[in-house]
Amino acid sequence: MTKNHTMLSALLVPMVTIIPLSAVLFDVEFDYNLRMVLLGASILGLVTGVLGSFAVLRRQSLLGDTLSHAALPGVVIAFMLMGRELGWLLIGAGIAGWLGTVLMNMIIRTTRIKQDAALGIVLAVFFGTGMALLSYSQGHEDASRAGLDKFIFGQAAAIVERDVLMVSGVAIVVLLIIGLFWKEFKLLTFDSEFASTNGFPVWFLDLFLSTLIVVSIVLGLQLAGVILMVGMLIAPGVAARQWTNNLSSMVILSGLFGAAAGASGAVFSAAAEGLPTGPLIIVAASLIVIVSLLFAPERGLIWRWWNQRQDQQQFLSESLLADIYRLAEKHGSTTYLVPHGMLTHLHGRAARKVLRELAAHRLLEKQATGWRLTAQGVIQAEKVERNRQLWKLYRLYRDEFEAPPVVENFQQDIREVLPREVVTRLERLLA
């Protein structure tokens, strides 16, 4: 756990210092506009990160994609009725996204269509309807392109102070709600059947959580746009999942990752003239994911690869010791010289390196034609051999001794995993 935290803080330091760092490194000027974009992007990243971790855990990652597309007709209708007022656009999008969720759940419940297709149907049909309405609202069909790019691709540069205030307000409300319903959401995420048998209104909670996701998506639309919203929702959650097995730390971490991605996207877009903010946020979030997948302790790919390598090495060295010991025993002398070719033939070329390592630990001695156990090696080999025998006996007599079920692992000292009385009984059997 402590290692975990050190690595994490090593990752978080550049994230937190990205703002002061960027001022020095990229010569970014923090004018009013950039400050607004930065604030908006970070707060949004925070909210989507927090909500996204629930979506990731509930295997509803692509719900975000569907909902962000399904919001279009709501946005257009709200725009036609109320004009370009962010609050109303939010409400319209919320209603449309919410309707989409309900419809999707109905399709899954009443037909044999699975979730992926139901998501696709709602996404496509709602978006098509939205596009039709948009082209209607703009009088003639070609004009449909005029306003659409802002919706599909977002336009972070247009964020003003009022938007930031609005985003912050909604963010506070969303975070408060999550705090209040923490227990319920946790239960829903990990065991919704248990929740339903205990009388929690699961469908309502489900819808409630989806509604929150809709709200965060709608907030994010003007920043990242329809298509990239799904990345903003998922990436921080996936990254955070690699570092911890605890929901609360995952949610907090995911929020931090989201905020860091938002901030760095904003900063880099200011540093490199003409690059859009939304896609840069996604690239930043994806980089965080890649780093997490590779380096996260215990789960990370590099970590796992290293562990596997260590295991293989240990297995090989124990097998070599045991083989030499057994051969020596058969020949009646513990100092029997085992020919070199025999060992490499049995264990492959990898054995050479391990043999040299064993010699370095003074367990083996190299002679001109082969290898021989040292006194220390004999003791070690006996220990290994004895451990193996005990494990084999455990496999045979597990039920008879009513021993606790443990994972068989010859490389582990059996005394570490089994209770002492079971080990003594096994040892007595061996004797």
Binding site: L62, D65, A124, G128
Partner: protein
Amino acid sequence: MERLLIDLLLNFMSAEQLYDALDDPRMVAILIGAMVAVSGALLGTFLLLRHMALTSDAISHTVLLGIVVAFIVMVYGLDQEADISSPWLIVGAALSGVLTVYLTELIFRSGLVKEDAALGLAFPLLFAIAIILISRYADDIHLDEDTVMVGEIGVAWANANEHCFANCEEVVITPDHPKAETGRQCINCKPSGPYSPRDPEAIFKEICSNCGTYPASIAYTRGYIDTSPQIVLWPRAITTMGVITLVNALFVLLLYKELKLATFDAGLAAALGFRPGLLHYALMALVSVTAVGAFDAVGAVLVVAFFIVPAATAYLLTDRLWRMLVLSSFIGALAAYTGYDLARGDFLGIYNLDKLLVFLDKHVLDLGGNTTWNVHIASAMVMMTGFFFLLAWVVSPRYGLVSNTIRRMVQRRRFREQLLLMHIHNHENTENANRELALDTLHMHLNWSENHLKRMVARLRSRNLVRVQNNLVIMTDRGERLLQKIMQERISA
């Protein structure tokens, strides 16, 4: 190839008829829409059955990356003009589609990320890279995100290749040609020279303002020749989509058996040596190519509808794979046909949306007098696919809401009848019979309402399964026989 096809068509109709047909935006839009729908439905059926419907969404977005990279290669690598109908685009699209799927599987196979999240990580990243590339090289590659995301099927007819069949000779206008417009021009007059045309030093030259070589069509419109050339303007999108539809249809027809096996039992397919993985990537490449061929017409987001929605509709109507393929293609094409009219306000010839708009404008909201429903055509086609899905969802004979509800009601009633018969059978001729089977207390034993019991007894009596004797409900022989039969069926089941 276009030429060949046109020659074939000319066997059935005259060049003028063909010209008129292809000059009709409605005709061309419906034809292209139907081809998009059919090619989408053929592949979409397999995507749906493999639970990969959303992969088509991901691919249709990442195709943008393939297009951008193809454009950059064309402009910087091959020094060509970037052209939206170049074959490089197809290559780029197919590669980007395969890359999306490969990347998703790579992330998924790490074992650290669930499958849905893996897809959700891969395609936004590729899409984001595409947009960054576009904004970086925008000045050179003339590619706008909007053109890719939102197509315009209504103008497809205008983007055409010219094919000429008769009177096609080029017209060469020389100064002696009767139609030549000749005149004299002073070459050393003001403003370039010092003289005015009246000065004797002015030098004149014979010039011809319209000399040159003209293709027959232009020569005819300018009146240089009297006989009109026989021209067919062949929209390019028809060729592109036609080829894609043909390739998809061939893919499905030739590999039908393999696809079927790989879809329903990938393990068996692998064991029999069919390489389901290869087939999988071929399918994904075709999805990408279809998406890129269609984005011109319907846009990257809406093409997803043609992949998923008709296939899902057909899925609610049939259990047979080949029927599903035919049905989904048909429904898609029908949606394209009716969708064009819906874009002009005509809903299946039943209702005109303009009336609704007039009503809304008058009584409900202020639409600013904009009461003509004239919208983006591809969107209207998608709306029709949604409508057909809704229709199938409600009234499908096998899986529709209505038939499901009816089936459930029938089952419930039959179960209750059997329950009542069973109860009578169990207590008949026992000492408790007077208590258990009395007409006015029986409902309590079954936990039914009194009215419900009365209705059930009346129904059973009318079918001569029970009778009422001394205020007791008693089974008839017929009822006894029926119950025996039911119990035997239960046992054998």
